[in-house]
Symmetry: C2
Subunit: 440 residues, 2 copies
C-alpha cells in the first residue's frame, strides 16, 4: 500500500522553530517531522510514498531524496499553488493513486499501531475513512482543530467551525481514489480544503470514521504542541519491565542524555559499547581494592547502568531498533555484570586475602546471571499479569554502588547472591503456576 | 473440526504383541497406538473424537474414557458387525458428522504436520481427500498396502489388488459427509470396504489426493512395521541443535534410557530434577578435591548430561512437552553448570591453595553461561543456515569428565573458559552478519 504525504504548506505558526526551513523539516528528537511520519508509516508496513511539496519544497526533496536512506521509495509531486487549500495539494497527486491509499500530514505525529489497524480494514467500493478522536487529550488545540460529527460510524459533517461535533479530525486517512472526484466537486463549488472533499463524500454516505482509541497522535502546529509531542515521545520510552531504580532514577536521567544523543549520528550499538566500556573501567577500579577506587567503581557501575538505557531509547526515538541490537546489548550486559562482580571479588581478596569472598562472589555471579536468564520468560508471562517489583539489573547495579560507597563489598556480594538467587527460584515456582499461560 | 477413528477390527497379524488386548491398545514407546493417534491429532488442533469400536471395544472405552485425561472429548460408536468391512464401521458413525471431518485409523502412526497441512485445505462441496504416499519408504509393506492411482490431483482407482497405481493409501482422510452416501452405494453393490466408498467418489470425480511428501507415516500391521515405527520415533528425537558429543554419545544412550522410562509414569520435569540431582552430587564430589572423588564427579557430570536428554525425549514421545518444561530444564542446567564449576574450583583450591584457580573458574563460569545465553539466538538463526559444530553443554560436560579423569582440573577450567568465551564472542560477530535474518 502506498501513502500520500502532504508537505506543501508554510506552517506559519511554527515559524519560530522552523527558522529558514519548511515546517516538515522542523526537528523533533533527532528526526524531522516528515522523517517521523515516513518511519512511522514504514513501521506499519508502508514502503512507498508520494510527497506533495510546495513551500521550500526543494529543501524537503534534498533531505529525503528517493527514500533509499530510509529503505523506502519516495516520489514527489510539486504543487506550485501551495498557497491554495490543502485539497488542491491532494488533487495534484491524483495520477499516482489508482488504488486505495493512506493519506498523512507531514506535521502529524502518531503511533504506528493506528496505521496497522487501519490498513487491515476492507474498504467498500468508493468509501473512505478518516481517523477521528472522540476524547482528545488536553494537549490537542481544540480551537484550531477540524471538528467532525459522526453517527453510526459514518461522518455527517466536518469543518473547523461547525458547532455540532462529537470528535476531531486526526489527519490520518484511508482513501479510495473516489476522493479525487469529491475534491474536484468541492473545489468547483469554491471550497479548496481537504475537508471540503470529505464533506462531499460524507453527503453521499461514503465517509466512514475510525476511532483512534487511546493511541497517541498530535498535530504539531504550535510551539506548545511541539513541546507536548517531545514530552509524550519521551514518556513512551518508559518500559513496563523497568525496575524501581530504573523508573525513578535511571530513566529520568537516561532520557535526558538520549535527548542530547539523538542530535548526533551515534548508533545505538555504539552506546551499548560505551556503557560496556564504563563497566569495564569499573571492573578495573574494583580490582584495585582501595576504598577510593572501589567507591569510584561503584559510581561508574551506576553510570553504566544509566547509559545502558540510552541505546534502546535512541533506537526507539530514531526508529533504529533491531532485534540484533537488543540482543547485543543484553549479551554485553551479562559480560559487564560478570566483570563487575569479578572486580569486586578480586579487589576485596587482594586486600583481605580471605578466600570466602570467592565463594560469595560465585553465588552472586550465578544469581545475577540467573536473574537475567529467568527475566526473559518472567517478563513475557508475569509482568503483563500483575503489578510487581521487578528485581533486575537496575537494582543490582544500584546495590553495588551503595555497597561500594559504604565500603561493604563483602556484604554487598552476599546480599546480591541471596537476593538474586532467591528471586530466580521464586520465578521458577511462579512460572510453574502460570505454565498454562506460557504454553498458550 | 472433529475426527473419526476406526478401531473396530481385530488386527490378527499383530496378535503376538497384542496378546489379550485389541490392536489399538498395543503399546508403542509408552503409549498405546490409539493414544498416539489421538494425541497426534490433538497436536494438530483437533479436540473432538468419535471412535468406532468393535472387537474388545470395552477395553478401549475403559482405557480412553471420555477423553478428559487427554484434554479432548471422546464419543464412541459400537459396531457389533466389526467382522464386516471397514466401510461398515465408518458408516456406523454417520449421524455424528454433519460437517467435514478427518478420518483416521487407530493403527496408523503419523506426523502431526500432515494433519496441520490437511486441515487448512478448503474442501469443495461434496469432495473428499485421501492422503497418499508417492514414494513410500522401505518399511512400508507394499504387498499389503492399499494402492492408489491418481491423475492431476484426483484419484482414479483404489484397491489392494489394482495393478496400475502410482502411490499408496496412508489411511488419513479429510472427508465431507458425502462419504456416507458413497459407502451406502458401495455396500449395496457388495463392497464393504472403505476403499469401495472411495472408489464411488473417485468415479464421480469427487475424490482428491494429497501428497504426504516426506512426512512420516506408518501402518502398524505387523511386528516388523511395529519395530520400524519404534525405530523411527526414536530417530526423530535427535535434534538439529545437538552438538557432536550429544549426537554420537549422549543421544544413543539417553534414547535407550528414555525407552525404558516411557513405560513408567515419570513426568519429564522429574527427570530434569534427577539430572540436576546427579550434577549436585558431582558438585559435592568435586568439592572434596581428591583424585578419586574428582574423577567420580567427572563421570557423574557426564551421566547427568546424558540423563538431561531424557526429559525432552520422554516429553516428546508421550506428548507431554511444554514450554515451561523446556524452560525449567534450561534453568536447572544453568544452575547445575555453575555448581559443577564451583565444585571443581573449590576442590582444586582446597588442595593447592592457589587463588589463580578462582579467576580461571570465574572466566569458565562466565563463558559457560554466555555459551548458553547466546545459543538461543544462535540456534534460531544460524543452525538453520549452515552446518556447524555447535559448542554447547554436551561438549562442556564431556570436557569436564575427560579433564577430571586426567586429574587436570586447572587446565580443564582454563580450556573451558577460553573455548566458551571465544565461541560466545564469535557468535556476536556471526549474528551481526546475519542481523537482517534476525530482524525478519
Amino acid at each position: 500500500m502506498k501513502a500520500l504525504i502532504i508537505a506543501a504548506g508554510k506552517g506559519t505558526r511554527l515559524r519560530m522553530l522552523a527558522k529558514d526551513r519548511p515546517k516538515p523539516l522542523v526537528r523533533l528528537l533527532g528526526l524531522s517531522l516528515i522523517e517521523r511520519v515516513i518511519l512511522t508509516a514504514r513501521e506499519s508496513g508502508i514502503n512507498e510514498f508520494v510527497i506533495v511539496i510546495g513551500y521550500l519544497g526543494d529543501k524537503i526533496k534534498e533531505k529525503l531524496g528517493d527514500g533509499r536512506d530510509y529503505k523506502v521509495k519516495i516520489e514527489y509531486v510539486e504543487n506550485e499553488e501551495w498557497e491554495r487549500g490543502n485539497g488542491v495539494s491532494v488533487l495534484k497527486a491524483k495520477k499516482h493513486f489508482k488504488e486505495n491509499f493512506v493519506l498523512l500530514m507531514a506535521d502529524h505525529i502518531f503511533d504506528a499501531s493506528i496505521l496497522k489497524r487501519l490498513k487491515k480494514i476492507d474498504l467498500n467500493e468508493n468509501e473512505c475513512i478518516l481517523v477521528v478522536d472522540k476524547s482528545p487529550q488536553e494537549y490537542i488545540d481544540l480551537g484550531d482543530a477540524t471538528k467532525v460529527k459522526t453517527k453510526d460510524g459514518y461522518i455527517q459533517d466536518i469543518g473547523k467551525k461547525i458547532k455540532d461535533y462529537n470528535c476531531i479530525d486526526c489527519g490520518i486517512f484511508f482513501l479510495s481514489p473516489s476522493i479525487f472526484k469529491a475534491l474536484e466537486e468541492s473545489i468547483e463549488h469554491g471550497d479548496e480544503t481537504l475537508s471540503g472533499g470529505i464533506r462531499v463524500l460524507a453527503r453521499k454516505g461514503k465517509m466512514k470514521s475510525f476511532d483512534v482509541n487511546d493511541n497517541f497522535w498530535i498535530d504539531i502546529d504550535t510551539v506548545s504542541s511541539y513541546k507536548a509531542a517531545e514530552k509524550i515521545l519521551c514518556k513512551r520510552l518508559l518500559k513496563k519491565t523497568d525496575g524501581p531504580v530504573s523508573r525513578y532514577l535511571n530513566r529520568p536521567l537516561s532520557i535526558r542524555i538520549s535527548k542530547i544523543l539523538v542530535r548526533f549520528n551515534i548508533k545505538p550499538n555504539l552506546i551499548s559499547l560505551i556503557s560496556f566500556g564504563i563497566s569495564f573501567l569499573a571492573f578495573l577500579l574494583f580490582c584495585l581494592g582501595d576504598y577510593l577506587y572501589v567507591a569510584t567503581g561503584g559510581i561508574l557501575s551506576q553510570i553504566s547502568s544509566i547509559v545502558d538505557g540510552c541505546d534502546g531509547e535512541v533506537a526507539r526515538l530514531k526508529f533504529q531498533g533491531s532485534k540484533y541490537g537488543a540482543w547485543f546489548d543484553a549479551v554485553l550486559d551479562r559480560y559487564a555484570d560478570a566483570l563487575i562482580i569479578l572486580g569486586m571479588v578480586y579487589g576485596w581478596w587482594s586486600i583481605h586475602s580471605e578466600v570466602c569472598i570467592w565463594i560469595v562472589g560465585f553465588f552472586a555471579m550465578m544469581g545475577s546471571f540467573m536473574n537475567s536468564y529467568t527475566a526473559i520468560k518472567y517478563d513475557e508471562v508475569l509482568l503483563k499479569r500483575r503489578e510487581n517489583v521487578r528485581v533486575g539489573r537496575d537494582l543490582r547495579l544500584f546495590l553495588i554502588m551503595v555497597g561500594a560507597l559504604l565500603g561493604q563489598i563483602y556484604y554487598t556480594l552476599f546480599v546480591l547472591g541471596v537476593l538474586t538467587n532467591f528471586v530466580s527460584l521464586r520465578r521458577i515456582f511462579l512460572l510453574k503456576k502460570y505454565k498454562e499461560v506460557l504454553n498458550e
